[in-house]
Amino acid sequence: MNHDLKEPGLRAARYWYVDGTFELAFGGLCLLLAVYFYAQASLADSWMAGLLSGLLVLVLIGGGYLVNRLTRALKERLTYPRTGFVSYQREPGKRRGLRIVVTFAASALSAGLLVLFVAGRPNGFELMPGVTGLIFGAVIALIGYRTALPRFYPLAALSLVFGAGLSVSGLSEGLELAAFYGALSLVLFTFGGVTLWRYLRHNPAPAEAPDGH
């Protein structure tokens, strides 16, 4: 039995990432971005390019929400019946509202800048996968550090390697980002799939109602 008063909070936070569903959902978002950048590179001279830029803003703003919803949906079907349901504490009304507004504004601003940057293709655009790989790698490593789940570190390293490699690959304009997101989604699906498979093996579905309700 665990008597450390701080640990339950850490374990609850870790529970969100423990079964690989987060990687699967995040991989889904990366696949969506890969398809988007491939379509944009293919339709660069078409009238649809403008429409796609608008879609990117929507995908980037709603990306976090989408990953969250998808992870939750997977957990409701696979994790909660096996190892239990937990809902996380929400910040008090005012602070939560402020956080939502700040997150939305920051996402909209960065999405807008990214769309302008992608459309303008300025000098140094070929470094875009490297910068993206660095940002994603840092975020993934931070998740690994905060949850003490070591499998996130090789994921972060792969994100850096893909980004750096594609920056110097000399792929045609636009395709390097499609390749980056495609490769990252493949790795995320693999890591997530293996983790989920192991989790399901160790936690078979209960034959009876868990609490004898």
Partner: protein
């Protein structure tokens, strides 16, 4: 015995029981958790957990909602405001006790 040390004798005994303090520590960290999650986190048997949850509910420290998720029964537990305050006080008392005893040891 100092005032702070004496305060340990007045600690909330309902919470001070090891199993119940673990249940409350888990519930304190989340919004709500179901029976299965609590059972896994605390390592208690179903019967034991049920008894302790009932005691905590009687004291008004937690609320228990019996519901269904699809066709699966779900016993959802959450800490009440009263429970959160009582647990905070309990933690404070323990912390003071630890600080006081550490200080006494250093003085010796």
């Amino acid at each position: 015995m100092g005032t702070k040390l004496r305060s340990l004798a007045e600690v909330n005994r309902l919470i001070h029981e090891p199993s119940r303090s673990v249940i409350l520590a888990v519930l304190f960290a989340v919004e709500s958790a179901d029976f299965l999650y609590l059972q896994r986190e605390t390592g208690l048997t179903k019967g034991n957990l049920s008894v302790h949850l009932s005691r905590l509910e009687e004291a008004g420290y937690i609320s228990i909602e019996k519901t269904y998720r699809g066709k699966i029964p779900l016993t959802l537990c959450r800490m009440t405001e009263e429970g959160r305050e009582a647990f905070k006080d309990y933690r404070k008392q323990l912390q003071q006790f630890v600080e006081q005893t550490t200080l006494n040891r250093r003085r010796q």
